[in-house]
């Protein structure tokens, strides 16, 4: 254990000796430390040992260089990653189409509800009109329906009202397709 490198340098100089070796010491302080090294065997031996380790590490720790095709491979990888946003675009396009379809179905449902209500109103009005007319004219209506020139008009009107009501009822229950609700 008499090896000065194991005993260590003078405490005041240890960090300066390392900085001197690493070239990090200010010139003025470096001059002082060199003067100390000339006079102090302990520090000079320790510094020599430290310098030897430093030199060996510098010689032995080396990194291989990057291969020349590093950039080309990186560009290729990035190009393959760039294709991914295209897939993302496809997904977002599908999502947009889905949202539009849902919106369209919702508006179709609203339309069917309106038509259903209109159909109900038409049926009610038709029934009321027919009832009132029936009550007002009473039995005298019967010959009109079965005889005379107006009977076709009355029957036609009643049939049209029933047909419109049936159509509205079918649409309200999705029995018939509507333009604008299917994409």
């Amino acid at each position: 254990m008499n090896d000065p490198t194991l005993i260590g340098p003078c405490a005041d100089y240890e960090h300066d000796l390392v900085d001197l070796q690493d070239g990090e010491l200010a010139p003025e302080r470096a001059r002082d430390v060199r003067l100390h090294l000339e006079r102090c065997a302990r520090c000079s031996t320790w510094a020599a040992g430290f310098g030897a380790i430093d030199a060996r590490l510098a010689a032995e720790i080396t990194a291989p260089g990057l291969p020349p095709d590093f950039d080309a491979r990186l560009r290729e990888r990035i190009a393959s990653q760039r294709r991914l946003p295209d897939a993302g675009d496809l997904r977002s396009r599908l999502e947009r189409e889905h949202a539009a379809l849902v919106q369209s179905l919702r508006s179709g449902a609203r339309r069917r509800a309106v038509l259903g209500a209109a159909g109900s109103v038409a049926i009610t009005l038709g029934v009321l009109a027919a009832s009132r007319r029936f009550l007002e004219q009473g039995m005298s209506l019967l010959p009109t329906l079965t005889e005379g020139p107006g009977h076709l008009m009355v029957l036609g009107t009643a049939s049209a009202v029933v047909a419109i009501a049936a159509l509205a009822w079918s649409i309200a229950r999705g029995g018939l397709p509507l333009f604008g609700t299917e994409r």
Partner: protein
């Protein structure tokens, strides 16, 4: 850093900025990855992965940290993830973990040709992981404290302290070892 990178980033020209980032940082990124992984192919892969991540994240880079600091942090994370992937049972949270040391040792490939070199590097591998990494990077970066501090994300004083302790310990280890060898 190339001032052009800043200008392109500020103008939102991320692709142009990235074209400058790669040549400006690829060597340091590779050396940092190599200092962690100690395997050429693994370090190369980690460097590639780092730049892919940088490319993806560059539009979101807000400049709060220096670009280099940000890129080196991505490099360290990528390299440590690669280390974990290779040895999934090992925790690298503790930089002094002996398990982490052994895992890193085992990743190093290729037989050493020079027994003395092999000996010194084996001694280096007995040191705490953070000391090993600082020492390797210091010599890979041509003895630059600043480069090591930036790449490891540590204060300069911490790096100097790690290097000092590591090399002092190596001095202590080398002498008895060489006496035994003699």
């Amino acid at each position: 850093m190339d001032p052009g990178i800043d200008e392109h980033l500020a103008a939102g020209r991320h692709a142009r900025a990235f074209d400058l980032v790669v040549p400006a940082y690829r060597d340091r990124v590779f050396r940092l990855a190599y200092s962690i992984l100690r395997d050429r192919a693994a370090a190369e892969d980690a460097a590639q992965e780092t730049f892919v991540r940088v490319w993806k994240a560059l539009p979101g880079f807000d400049g709060r940290a220096a670009l280099g600091t940000w890129i080196y942090a991505i490099t360290r994370n990528t390299s440590l993830m690669e280390l974990r992937r290779r040895r999934p049972t090992v925790s690298f949270d503790d930089p002094d973990s002996t398990e982490a040391q052994r895992a890193a040792e085992n990743i190093a490939t290729g037989p050493a040709q020079d027994p003395e070199r092999d000996n010194l590097l084996r001694l280096l591998e007995t040191l705490p992981h953070n000391q090993q990494e600082a020492v390797r990077l210091f010599y890979l970066e041509d003895r630059s404290y600043e480069a090591v501090a930036e790449q490891l994300g540590m204060p300069l004083g911490t790096v100097k302290n790690l290097l000092h302790r590591a090399r002092k310990r190596l001095m202590e280890l080398v002498r008895p070892d060489e006496e035994i060898a003699a």
